[in-house]
Structure formats: C-alpha cells, structure tokens
C-alpha cells in the first residue's frame, strides 16, 4: 500500500468515525483527530490536532485525573516518603502498585512505594472537615514508620470541595515533627486530565523541596563534581532508570539523582547542584526542569533512550555538554553495545519487518518509541496521547516519517474503529484497552507498564523490547481465534 492510499484511508476513517456522534460532540472530536505527515506545513502540532482540552462527556476516555498525575506519577515513586491519599478510600486503593515503579528498600520500614496510606474519609469528615484527622494521621505515621523522611498529602476530590486547608496542617505538623510535609492540591476534578496533576506536583517540588526547610536532610557528604547530572522524568517502570543510568555512568557522568523512580528526598535535594538535567518524560517534568534552569542556571535537555538510533543520538547530545573525555567515552559506550544491538536487530528484524503498529499511550511514549519500532523495521501508522499538550504534538511531528493518523484523547469507540479500519499488526496501549484488541485476535503490548516485562530503556532494554514485540506478533496463539470448522474469508 503506497503512502497516498494509506493517507486517504486514514482520512476516510476519521470522517466515518465522526458520524456516530451527536453534532456538538462531533464538532469537538473533529479537532482532535488528524493525519500527520512529515511534510505537514502546520508547525504548531502534528496532524493539526488540538489537545489538552476537556474530554467529551459520556464517552470512554482513557484519561486519568490530576490526583493520578501527582500521586500516581510524580510523587508516588519517591520511596523514602509516605504519600497519604487524603480523602475517601478508593483513589489510593485503585492506584496502589499499578505503575511498577521499581525500587530497592525495606518496604514498610525505610521505603513505602507499594503501600497505600489513606485518611479514609467518612461522612463526618465531609461534614466537619478532615484537617484534624490529617494531623492525627501524620502523628500515627511518625509513631509507626519512624524512618520515613517526609510525607506528602495528595488531595482527593472532596478536599478542595469542602475547603479543607491542608497547607496549614502541613505547615504546623512539619514544624512539630521536624520533617518535610508537602501538601499537594491535586484534586481529581482539576484540569482536564492527569496532566495538570504533573504540573501541580512539580510546583510542590519547587515549593517544598527546593524552597522548603530541608534541615533534616543532610547532603553535606556529597561534594559536587563537573560531571554531575540528574535524570528527570523517568519513573523506573520495570527498572527503566537503572538501564538508562548504567549508560550515563559508563560514559563517565555521575548520576546524583533520579526522579522520581527509585528516588529519595536526598537525591531531589542534591539536584539543584548538578551540571545538567536530563529530561526523559517532557510532559510530566518540563515545569521543574525549566524552573531549575531559571533559578539555578541548570540547563536541561530532552533525551530518548528507546531504540538504538535514538539512544545513540541522545548519548551524543548529552556528551556534547561535557568535555572531550566524556565525548570519547560516549563513543566507546556506543561502540561497546553496537555488536549486541546488531545481533538483536539481525535476529528480530526479519520477523518484524513491515509490521504496522498503532500506539496510544501517555507521557512521551507516543513519539519516543516510534524510533525503536523503526529500528526493527516496523512502521507506526497511528499514534496519540492521553493527556498531551500542543508542544508534545509538535515534537511528535519530528518523529513520524510517513502519513500517520493522530488521535488526541482517543476514546474506546474511536480507537476500536481506527484499528478495525486500518488493521495494524500490533496495538500498543494501556491495560483498559488490552483485552478488547486481544479478543479480536490482535497482538497487543501494554505500553504503560511494559506488560509486566521490561525494562525497555537503554540498550539492554531495547533487547527486551525487541524480544517482547516478536513474542507478541509471532505468537502462535493468535492463529487459534478462528475455529478450524469456520469457513475462510
């Protein structure tokens, strides 16, 4: 199929999909669906789609909320702090241990990531307010978990609605216990998706880590060096940060902090002293990276460790900020891994060449993984984000190499229709969509959590990625969908 035919098919699919909606909803959704191409003259986004707007009511959006963005993504993985889900029981329970933010520590003693702490609001807390209860929660945490290094209070919907003042409680209690307590006003109804939660969480990092009283955090034993960097916006899903960090260390850099996968407060406190911030998930942590640039003069760059082509590009870009020693070592690292990568590609490319993929994820993956698929000879023919902004789509435009259907905040109905019409060989998206497509007999990979595999970052991660995509696409199970007694066609 030539690119013209594909593009025509993609445009026809959009047109047909819109027909199911009542007029107002169709008008709205039309703005979020488009066909992007590398020759696209529109510089602002990809496929001219609009983003970061309210979801159409009554459809099955895959979006989450501000609480999910703050507690689930940014703050939750900080391992030596205790994150209180402040409000009723559900939010904390549903978000518990869902994101595979790997860490090393004694859970329940000095690390707490996979646990669920909740103030478990009852009706009387709604009527009379929950500030007093929050204070008592903090006291009990101090008694039972004395090795916590700090506490965050993650507001669920009712907190903002009933007008509780968690900021005042945090201030008073922080003084009392002599540790950092971070109030985060990330109520789920704020904003249109989890995206605002990332921003609110970033602001809280600024206010309570960088500008707060960190007298209980001792960073004096770490002397800064010329080669200090921080990894920002890597959540260590399945160990991603570790398989990234190893490359940076091999090229002679010193990673003093990683956020927020496997992070500690001390690492965060050390960050304003680094020479360069390395930003992986632009969407969730560009705010704090910009802040550090403005306030502390730390430059930040985006990098992409998915697939060897992008990894090599990124390693060189990172090295270019440092002296020739680092640059030389960077080339050594690239050369060291090249034979392994060549072998991986030689093994898997023949099995995957020409296979078409449709993506729908959050954060950075709808654009960052395109290169990794291409390294395996695969083609991404559709992509979109749950909660992106225009600048994400602008960055996406730079990654696509052919006509690609672009869908912003695509809902279950639309994604299913796109898949049926464009018939990709693989769908790569989230847990909620997984079984819809598998039931159709379509190979599927869950690209929020690497489907309980991973890591996918870095060179070692790419080998796993390649193996997993092969496993998905070439599994014999898909051939069983149709019974032998069913007629062909």
């Amino acid at each position: 199929m030539g690119p013209e035919t594909l593009e025509a098919k993609q445009k026809a699919a959009i047109e047909e999909i819109l027909k199911a909606y009542p007029e107002k909803a169709a008008k709205n959704r039309e703005k979020h669906l488009g066909v992007g191409s590398p020759n696209d003259e529109n510089q602002k986004t990809c496929g001219d789609v609009r983003s970061n707007k309210k979801t159409v009511p009554g459809v099955m959006s895959q979006r989450g909320c501000a609480y999910a963005g703050s507690k689930g993504v940014v703050w939750g993985p900080v391992k030596d702090m205790i994150h209180i889900s402040h409000g009723p029981i559900g939010c904390g329970q549903y978000s518990r241990a869902g994101r595979r933010n790997y860490y090393i520590g004694v859970t329940g003693v000095d690390t707490f990531v996979t646990m669920n702490f909740c103030s478990d609001f009852q009706e009387n807390n709604i009527v009379f307010g929950g500030d007093k209860k929050l204070g008592l929660c903090i006291d009990e945490i101090e008694t039972l978990f004395p090795l916590n290094n700090g506490i965050t209070v993650q507001s669920e919907c009712p907190i903002g609605l009933i007008g509780d003042d968690i900021n005042a409680v945090a201030k008073t209690k922080a003084k009392e216990i002599g540790k950092t307590i971070v109030p985060v006003n990330c109520e789920g109804f704020r904003g249109v998706s989890q995206s605002l939660g990332h921003h609110i969480a970033n602001d809280a990092v600024r206010d309570y880590i960088f500008e707060g009283d960190l007298s209980h955090i001792d960073i004096s034993d770490v002397t800064p060096t010329e080669y200090d960097v921080a990894i920002i916006g890597d959540y260590n899903i399945g160990g991603d940060t570790w398989s990234s960090r190893i490359l940076l260390e091999e090229m002679g850099l010193r990673v003093v902090a990683q956020w927020s996968g496997d992070a500690t407060m001390k690492e965060m406190a050390l960050t304003p002293k680094v020479k360069l911030n390395l930003l992986h998930c632009y969407r969730s942590m560009n705010y704090i990276s910009r802040h550090m640039e403005k306030e502390f003069g730390i430059p930040w760059i985006e990098y992409n460790f998915f697939g060897p082509s992008q990894t090599i590009k990124s390693l060189r870009k990172i090295a270019s900020f440092f002296d020739e020693t680092i640059q030389a070592k960077c080339e050594e690292v690239i050369a060291k891994y090249q034979p392994m990568i060549d072998a991986v590609i030689a093994k898997y490319k023949p099995r995957l060449e020409g296979k078409q993929v449709m993506l729908f994820v959050g954060g950075l993956r709808p654009r960052h993984v395109i290169g990794a698929y291409e390294d395996l000879g695969m083609e991404v023919i559709g992509t979109g984000y749950e909660f992106a902004h225009d600048d994400d789509y602008k960055r996406t435009k730079e990654e696509i190499f052919r006509s690609t259907v672009i869908y912003d905040d695509v809902n279950e109905y639309e994604l299913e229709a796109f898949v049926k019409k464009l018939q990709p060989d693989l769908v790569a998206s989230g847990i909620k969509e997984k079984y819809v497509f598998q039931k159709m007999g379509l190979p599927y990979r869950q690209m929020h959590s690497w489907d309980y595999s991973g890591p996918y970052h870095g060179y070692d991660g790419f080998a796993i990625f390649a193996q997993d995509m092969d496993l998905a696409i070439n599994s014999p199970v898909w051939a069983h969908s149709k019974a032998p007694w069913e007629k062909e066609g």
Binding site: C91, V109, N149, L161, R245, K266
Partner: protein, 514 residues
Amino acid sequence: MQEVEKIVNGKDLFKRPEYQDVLANKKQFESSMLAINPAKVEEIAEWTKTWDYREKNLARESITVNPAKACQPLGAVMVALGFEGTMPYVHGSHGCVAYFRSYFTKHFKEPTPCVSDSMTEDAAVFGGLVNMKEGLKNCAAVYKPKMIAVSTTCMAEVIGDDLMAFIIAAKEEDKGEFLPAEYPIPFAHTPSFVGSHITGYDNMMHGIMSQLTEGNKGETKQRINIIPGFETYIGSLRSVKSIVEAFGTDYIMLGDHSDQWDMPAGNYEMFSGGTKLDDAKDCINSSATISLQKYSTSKTMKMVEKRWKHAGGHSNPIGLKGTDEFVMKLAELTGTEVPQKLKTERGRLVDAMQDSYPYMHGKKFAIWGDPDFLLGLVSFLLEMGAEPTHVLCHNAPNGWEAEMRALLDTSPAKDSLNVWAGKDLWHMRSLLFTEPVDFMIGNSYGKELMRDTGTPLIYIGFPIFDRHHLHRYSISGYDGALNLLTWITNKVLDQLDEDTKQIATTDYFFDLVR
C-alpha cells in the same frame, strides 16, 4: 550486557554485577538522614514484628494502611454490567472511571466498559447538569446501550447534584432523539465516603430494581429471583444457576455479569449476556427472591421483603453447609425434592472432604475479604476442622462481627479464633508476626504479607491481579466447595514438600504418596 541468544528481562538483568554496581553507586546519594543506616533499618524492621509494635499499630484511629476495601462506585459498576446491554455511567470526573476500569480489568483480564461525564472545575462550581445532559446523549449515540445505569462519585455527592432532576432534564433536552422518555436510566447515589464497594453494589441494585419494576406489579409467577451480590467468581454464578436449574424451576438471576467478564475470543462485542431487561422489569412478579450475600444486598432485600413481599431471604452457598442450606431453601420454595444430580454432587464433595481432611484439620488460617465471602469461607474451614485464627473484614457492616463471632464459637478452638472488624492489612501484618498462622487466604495484597512474614498465601478473594484465571472457577455450590478444598489442600501439600525437600536432612518426610 544482554546476550542475544538469551535476552533476559529485569528479573535476571539486575542481578548481574554491572547492575549491582549501578545500585551500589546510587546508594551514596540515597540516604538523607544520618540516623538511617543499615543497622537502624534492621532494628526498626525487627521492632515492627513485636507485641509492642502490634499494640501501637492496633491503637491506630486515623491513618489506614494497606486497606482491604474499595469505594462504592466500583460495586455500582459491577451491578450495571450484570444487565443486558447496560452501560455503567459514573457522574463525576473521569479519573475515577479510569480506576474502576483498570481495577476490574486487571482482576478479570477482560474489558470493562464504563463511561463518565468528565466533570471538571466548572462543574464543581456550577454543578454537573451540563455534563450529564451532554454525557447521556453522547453515551446513547455512540455505544447504543439498552440501559444506562448512573452512579456518582464523591465529587458529585459533595456538590450535591440532583440525579433525578438531571436525568429528566437530559431526556427533555434532545426531545427524545437520543433518550426517549421510556429509555431506562436508573440511578444510585454512591458516595465514596460511605461504606465500601459492597454498599455501592447494594445501592445500584436497589436503584435498578426499583426503577425497572415500577408500575409492573401484576400476577405472581412461580419463579425465583437470585441476587448474587458482589461476586467476583464467574464460575460461582454458573454453579448457582446450575443448582437452580436442577430444580427445574423458572428463575431470574438479577445482575448476572458472568458472560460480560468471560467473553470468548473472536469478535469483540462491548456487552455480553446479562439479565434480560424484560426479566428485570418482571422480577417483581416472581414468588421469591434469594440474596446470596446478606451484607452486600441489605437495602435491596429490605425493599424486596417489605414492598415486594417476596419469600426467600438470604442464603450463602459457600461450603458444604452453605450449599445444603441453599439447596434446602430451593426445595422448600419450589416444593420439589432435592434432585438426584445435587445429591450425587454433594456425595462426591463429602467423599473428597473425607479424603483430604487430615491436611486441613487443626491448621491455622488468617483470612480477609468481604463480609459475606468470609462467612462462607470460614464456615467451610470449620467444616474441615481447620482453625481460622484471624478473620479480618475491613468493610464489616453492623452486625457482621457478632455473626462471625457466633460462627467461630461453634469451633472447639474458639478461644484462639479472633475476629477483626474494621482493621486493615497493616494490622494483619502485626497479627501474623505476633500470633502466626500456617496459611493465609486472601487476595493479591496478601503477597506482601507473605514476603514479610513467610506465611504461605492461598489466593482466594478479590482482587487477584498476579495470578491468572482463578476467577473463572467457582467457590459456590458443591463443585465450588470442591475447588476450595482442592486449592487449600494442595497448598498445604506444596508447603509440606517445601519444608521437607532438603536432601539428606529433611527429605525422609518428602513422601511420594500422600
């Protein structure tokens, strides 16, 4: 570095020396308090295992740690998916719906349809009427459900949205183009700060039943309604149906999600199976209604008994005694003798219980879960001579603790058997360290307790994220009891092998025949 002929994932990758170095390097930047050193961590870790810690832990009044309950709308979504072509519609922010869908999907490994009307800040100020009007219309147009079942989130409840008025307004808005006047849109208030997921189940079942049956009271039919309750075992629904069918009686299962969460591969249809809406409308004319879960259906059953005046009441068909009671209730309500098929099934179960009892007798168990589930499971454990040492119900409603206590008091070991109502799994951790048991029975959250305390976990409950297909089996009826017996006994045997497998030291007891 990976080797192409043997690519490994994180499980083995990070054990390699180069990654151990990475983790060791990282350590120097990690610890932020001088007080925290490995010895201190060890000291505190040991302290958490003591009676002193237990006392402080049990004295907790405010913070909940590792709960064993979820919130109301989750139960409401389950009810909706048990009815033919019904879309669960959650009035509130879409974040909640993303969570409900993920939670069920991770447990069942099945798609879970559910929409929300995506309320945001402006709805918080002005109310959610606009979202509701537009949302219902879009939902009807895009997914074409036969019914939309509306429940609420804490957001909608705190701002006090008037569901009935909103739904009427939505129907008037488009002059019936998408939502004709007779289109069924039952609703329930399901604030997350009241009760738990079983309360939401009850509220939504009550909402659907009361709305669909309104004005349909007519001649009473010889027919039995069955309400399964918050039942996550698909096989249990099928077992119960097969028992009722054995009596040859006409019946309606109200809220039958067994096909929805067990769709065959092939063509994906958003809705599958469920109680026929015509049946649901007519269920008021059945002669009896039996609820299989007393605490998950208390409000609904009050209506059934007071307003519908149905016979039936509660019957919890888990374990031998529970199933016997259910079977006898059906015999009584239908005036039929117990069918031979069930007599045979019962005989086979008892035979199996007599084969396996030595391995369960006297074994101490810790168990947690929903109130009705626990009454059934504990009853079965007692039938086998086992000792449920710790029975923990985080979402225990009024009356449950006394009922469970009375059940445990039937055991000769009653003095060492404890009921823990309203406690969470961090409490359970202390209980397990101070008063250890042989086995735990519970959901996936138990695996952390297993890691910390070394107590083997038998996966029975909800949610189960990290084991596959258990929910496809039954835990109800005689066949369900046989499943329970099989899972528990074989775990005991697995553990026996585990404990005796050391070559030339303990393996004299590593028997080939048990």
